[in-house]
Amino acid sequence: MSTGSAHTEIAIHRSGAQRMGFFTDTTVCIGCKACEVACKQWNDLPADGSVPGKGASYDYTGDLSASTWRHVRFVELLEPSPQLREEAQRALESGGGNKFPAIPASGAIDLVDAAQAGDGAADVAEAVSKMGDWVFMSDVCKHCTNAGCLDACPTGALIRTEHQTVVLQPDVCNGCGYCVPACPFGVVDRDPQDGRAGKCTLCYDRLEDGLEPACAKSCPTDSIQFGPHEELVEIASRRVARLHERGIEGAYLYGAGDEPDEQLAGGLGAFFLLTEPPELYGLPAQADSPVQENVVPATLAAVGAGLLASAGAVIAFVAAGRLSRRRPVRESW
């Protein structure tokens, strides 16, 4: 993850600076949205004017945007996921003290009532199998190692800081909007009123003053943890192991702890602990900087075709000239 000899990158360098990041543990998130509020307040970001009740969801924010840099995604499932169902079944079969999966879950059926009314295990199993599943994920800029926005930015407004985070310089950005489609995670966006792009800075200003980012500071359950990236990966791995011990086999890390050839965008500075397949949270199973993936083959094909087209034009004209010398040419097609 280190930059190595990264002095060709548009970046701020400071010797001894560590890669800093977020570890967002969705298993302890309660969906309070304190992180969203803290982010808005610290960064002085305006409201997005969301209309309550969209899509019959409690998630009024909807999406990350140029003025929403943290977004607690509410994943509401009318059906329990197969993972949850399996875990419930396994917990019941093992007959241990803990009959409930520890995944945050809620639904129309009151589990306590179900357990008290019947003879216990069977009713609980039925209740769990009918239960809706509800998970939260506090989404944020991933501060990728292979950052698509950073690759795409034509003005050098997006830079890499000494903390290996990706920061947008608002005084340089001219709002070309190319970072928006270049982000494989749908993070960065252009503000329709302001005209510039905006995204999480991992509170670069707070970091320079030795403070942790506003969202991590405000998180009441420590679902959002901030720290040196290496330490966070270690803690997150231990947390995954702990959750596996407790029977939550679906726990895994999104964006950290992978083999080098399976990393997401070269490894994410802000990574997540999830319990469902990534698509459930609106995250791609695999992603990379679209610019790095496509720019070489696309440019080769495009420039090759361009040269071929000009050569073709020359050939067409020379041939037409030769032909006309032999016999008179009518307007052709």
Partner: protein, 457 residues
């Protein structure tokens, strides 16, 4: 706490809702929030400036000297003694030691688990408006005309070559206006030239636009000054720049996360070149006809052939590309992009049949009509491709399928994506470090000065 302030455990309902003035209500839409904010804060504009610099002073990106301290930096993040979970009172939150490979295999298992449900949105739709496809069309026309100018010169038709060079310059002239108009902050357009970044297609396109317009204007100037040799040389240079100007727009779209664009990465560039050549040839042909090039002249005949061949290859490339796309191709078939594609294809077919009929029965007028149809088809193709990206971005299933390396979401066959090198290596202007920084800083300050001047007016 006195008794009257004690909570009674019961909510009193007055029956009538409290009367609210409009000022008490939160705004229902985002409309006007910017102007309200500006009015409240008595500033000229909202500035989302948390990250770098001090209020009122712009920040600069400068590569700090290794070892130099960042202002106000502390040796450690004192505030980051973050967690009650596993610090002083250990809650066994992360108590277990992972076995070797445990996390790797858990990640692999879940990222390859069966797709149960897809909850979008995954990515943001592009913010580009009508200016961008229109620019693609004009830029393509300019580069196609540059090809024609080169071909005319080689074939020995110097008069037509001079006209083609003028068409190229004329077609290019709206391009900067359109591009600047599409920026969120048009007064900062100069920042496009602040860095030289081969990795960013938009940056390279901006530089190419400058180079093309420079050499194209110089070529026309040489024509006017009666220097045919210089004009020919500059025309050849223009057509070299044109081979990137007409094709980089496809690269620009391919280097994105939208399935319909990214998956046609090797198709988009060639298809855009084909449209560019056809529109350039059609525009030049019409200009030549208007300038009185006689019917039956080999240049007119060659231009007609070039138009038709290019449009046919665009059709073939589109068809091949659509087969590669899998589920993502839905974005090309439905809604607005679908209508535009169908329009474009029918215009091509119509133009082609006109040519066939005109060859047999009718005169040159019908050939001109066919050229106009090809031009319109080119415009429709540009708008279709750009709006297909918007449709594709909102197609959560297609985005998820691309993430899995599949053509369709529940396809069994996968082609995992190879790992790329980290994005550290990027070149900037080929200048010494100090000069490069001074240049970048000068451009940034010039942009801000322009912006200040324009905004205060």
């Amino acid at each position: 706490m006195t008794d009257e302030h004690r909570w009674e455990g019961r909510l009193e309902h007055s029956g009538e809702p409290a009367e609210l003035t409009p000022e008490d209500e939160p705004p229902t839409t985002s409309q006007g929030r910017e102007t309200d904010w500006v009015a409240d804060h008595d500033t000229k504009s909202r500035d989302i400036r948390p990250a770098l610099g001090k209020p009122g002073e712009p920040a600069a990106w400068t590569a700090a000297k290794p070892g130099a301290a960042v202002p106000l930096a502390r040796p450690s993040f004192g505030d980051a003694q973050w967690s009650f979970l596993y610090k002083a009172r250990d809650t066994a939150y992360a108590a277990a030691e992972p076995s070797p490979g445990q996390v790797v295999s858990a990640n692999r298992r879940m990222r390859r688990a069966q797709v149960t449900d897809v909850h979008g949105p995954f990515i943001h739709a592009p913010v580009w408006s009508w200016e961008v496809p229109l620019y693609f069309w004009f830029g393509g026309m300019a580069s196609g005309s540059a090809f024609v100018a080169l071909a005319c010169d080689v074939a020995g038709d110097c008069r037509s070559a001079a006209i083609a060079r003028r068409v190229a310059l004329g077609a290019l002239s709206p391009a900067p206006v359109l591009l600047i108009g599409d920026l969120g902050r048009p007064d900062r357009f100069l920042n496009m030239m602040r860095v030289f970044k081969p990795r960013s297609p938009m940056n390279m396109g901006a530089w190419c636009l400058v180079a093309f317009s420079g050499s194209s204007a110089a070529a026309v100037g040489a024509d006017l000054l009666g220097r045919p040799r210089a004009a020919q040389a500059l025309g050849a240079l223009t057509s070299l720049f044109g081979s990137y100007l007409g094709s980089y727009t496809g690269v620009l779209l391919a280097c994105t996360a939208f399935p319909v664009w990214a998956r046609s990465r090797t198709i988009l560039g060639p298809a855009f070149v084909a449209t560019a050549t056809a529109s350039g040839a059609a525009a030049t042909r019409l200009a030549l006809v208007a300038s009185g090039l006689p019917d039956g002249h080999p240049t007119r005949s060659a231009l007609g052939g070039l138009e038709t061949a290019s449009m046919l290859s665009e059709l073939v490339l589109s068809a091949v590309g659509e087969r590669q796309l899998g589920d993502a191709a839905e974005a090309l078939r439905r809604g607005r992009p679908g209508t535009l594609f169908r329009t474009a294809k029918s215009l091509v077919v119509l133009g082609l049949s006109l040519r066939v009929v005109a060859r047999r029965r009718m005169g040159p007028r019908e050939h001109d009509l066919a050229s106009i149809m090809y031009l319109a088809a080119g415009l429709a193709f540009r708008f279709a491709w750009v709006s297909a990206g918007k449709a594709s971005a909102t197609d959560a299933a297609a985005v998820a399928a691309m993430g899995r390396g599949r053509r369709a979401l529940h396809d069994v066959r996968e082609r995992p994506r190879p790992q790329r090198a980290p994005s550290m290596d990027r070149s900037q202007l080929p200048l010494p470090g100090a000069a490069r920084r001074a240049y970048g800083e000068a451009i940034r300050r010039a942009s801000l000065a322009i912006e200040r001047r324009l905004r205060h007016r």
